[in-house]
Symmetry: D3
């Protein structure tokens, strides 16, 4: 499957925190570089997410803001 | 300034493409790891973005989807 | 590949309009039901989108608002 | 009221799950076609959402990604 | 029509800039307070947007980030 | 720090509601004008948000929809 989503980061699940509706997933996509994702708890279960699992983080280009010092 | 935005990636501008309203900015945030951002052309000008400039890419956690093979 | 994205609609490309940076893609996901997507022009080219092609529209649950009359 | 939002789907509420801050709403917009929405719990209450209620799902075109097999 | 969208700002169109696919709309929602919106050009036409017109700006709560000095 | 984000509203925190994963923050950005934001609970803690604190609400232009009566 190919996606229009411009940004795809391969990573490993480091931490999962479950709420009532949502789940917060922390991935490591490079040594010392982490990405945090909020998805629904049912999606986390459907994807069988667990610490150590290899996953991809997907981000649309329009959802990336830029800052300068 | 501190941001609620969970994901902040320090990087360098590699490429800028300008449209009539939007601009597509490509950053390198680690060797071989690129992030593409679409912002308005007027923002790109206001931030004086240019190839080689050091910037930050900002992504809200709710804008990060996850995929598994 | 399985996605955390909750909403996946199978459809057919009906129309493609290209801008300088973005492309507007119209899909039909059911008889008389259309979905409009804005992606980058380079994504439209990378996916080889063309009228009549079978594709999927993906929407995160947090991006769906609800209205009542 | 007319909206800039390009995608409007008329549907019926099938299921509501409440969290502490958010609510997950499942709509049926065509036979066998469901849309899942996450809104705040206070919005779900303000709109008096309930199973069987007729509602609209609204999605901005920039929030629709596209995938191909 | 009532919306789940938590943030609704009444305002007046101050400026419209048209691109090939998108349009950038600037509203004034209070004396000296402006909101900029990017919508598709076809939406701007469908809503008959013009300088001086009274409109509403709608923003989902999950799309509002927070910063502190 | 300068941001590509087009919309920045200075305001004061009026109310904070905490869920398991998310927090709902209500700001007043002008007399009688409120903005509601959903951020992660850990971001609310990291920014030391509290009632009365001065903060900024940030919204990308592509996340602003427009409605007309």
């Amino acid at each position: 499957m190919k996606l229009s989503t411009r940004n795809t980061f391969k990573g490993t699940v480091k931490k999962i925190e479950l709420g009532a509706v949502n789940a917060e997933i922390t991935l490591e996509i490079a040594p010392g570089v982490e990405v945090v994702s909020i998805i629904t708890k049912s999606s986390a279960e459907r994807l069988s997410l667990a610490e150590g699992k290899e996953v991809y983080a997907l981000v649309k280009a329009t959802d990336v803001a830029i800052a300068v010092d």
